[in-house]
Amino acid sequence: MSASVVHTTGLTKRYGERVVVDHLDLDVPAGVVAGVVGPNGAGKTTTMRMLLGLARVSSGEGTVLGRPISRPASYLSRVGALIESPAFYPALSGRRNLAVHAAIGGIDPRRIPMVLERVGLADRADDAYRAYSLGMKQRLGIAAALVGDPALLVLDEPTNGLDPAGIRSMRDLVRGLADDGPTVLLSSHLLVEVQQVCDWLVVIDHGRQSYQGPVDGILAGAVTELAIAGENTSDIGIIRDVVDRLGYDVQAHSTGAGDLRVVVPSDADPTRVGAGINRAVAGAGITLARIDVHRPTLEERYLTLTKKSA
């Protein structure tokens, strides 16, 4: 049995000849907010549907909360899910819709007012679902996922279609939920969202896993660079000689406008490296117009990973 909340080995989903999820080895530790990111059609939702027993696994195996994914009935009572989009009975109120969930799941209906309060829907709980805004529908979806007091929360693109205020509100809600205990598995194609909410990251592209680990870890292998430009573009050769003498690695290409790209050693402070170069270049009679520290972003790393995978 795995200590991970979600653990899969070679998880694969095929529709005929088309491979939608290709040998995915997931390993999501307990207590984290894990972001599953990837472009549209990468296989995020299909992966979640397999974990929730909605789609058959073509090959591979795995566990959710320590139970085999081949027997979803053994663990789904401890899982809350918002999959694809919120789906409720339009004629019933939010409260009645949650009562349906409680009844089918054998859940204590006294939890309903609590989860409605938690997602900020208590005031509109008795309105028909069809009268809800998109943001309220998403919130009711979260409430339905929470009503069973889950150990694992699976949220598929919970901010889809929301306005900026709604996205922010949903982000705060998800982060708050994670602080209360359950492990959260969240799919998104919004890197900003993932960076702000998640502490564990799984990157999927074309059904394949490109990265898995802490969010900070994805940036660990990336280099920080200094972009240096002299006052005159003709100074570039002298600046390069000075930097070479200092022993720093100069990127072969110029990024335009006379810029040099200097790789900052992984154990060095970029600001100190920049100051040293500035001092040395000044000693050679050259004035620098600009020194920028360029730290790698999650977006750049993501694009690098997904490009590699493609």
Partner: protein
Amino acid sequence: MVGSFRAELVKIRRPATGYGALAMMAFAALATVLTFVAAKTGPARVSVKDPGGNIVTTLSQLGSAAGISRGYNVASGLIGLVVFVLFVTAITGEYAQGTMRVMLTREPRRARYLTGRLAALLLLVAVVLLAALVASIGAALISAQVRGVPTGQWFTSAGFGHVAGDYLNSVVTAACFGALGTALGLAVRSTPLALGVGLAWLLPIEHILQTSWSAAPQWLPGLLSDAVAVGGSVGVSYLHAVVAAVGYAFVAAVLGVAVFMRRDAST
């Protein structure tokens, strides 16, 4: 199964269900009144035909023990279609709304989920049919006064036996059409397609086949289920109709569950 049964009851408990039940009661009462209005004078045990050759109910038949639920019996002929539409839309509506996948994350044991839901729907239908029967009997009592039909034999053990038999037949018919509607809904998942195919088969196609194939009432599921509702019909005995209709319903239910369990739960 208990969970999905209770969940279905939560969904059912709303004004629209009450309006539907009232409509069924009104329909049964109307059918009963029209049966009394259209009744001709004639013997109780011999079929009387109108100028068009159709068998008509006689006032003597209405005054027999079977007369108490004669109007309900006539109305039962259409119950099958109503139940068919109800069960088809109950399944395909879940796919259209996306609620099927949500419910299956709560109750992943699909056979249990389906059984619980259908049991709740069938209970609803049975209760509505009972209400329709009561409405029909009420309308029959009033209509009997107006047409001068004696009701002395209605409230005898034979009369109550007819009431129970007609009610049971309508429930069996509902179950058969419900199973057919559910299986079709699970197979095609689309409301327009399921209703289009189902109603086209049950209404024109079976009846066209009936005109050219004399054995059609003994073999076609819609005609067989209709025959159960009215306690047997011309060309098919009651026992044959029950056995064959229940057989079709059983096969449809098994195929429906098999399809439901094997397929991915997509929208």
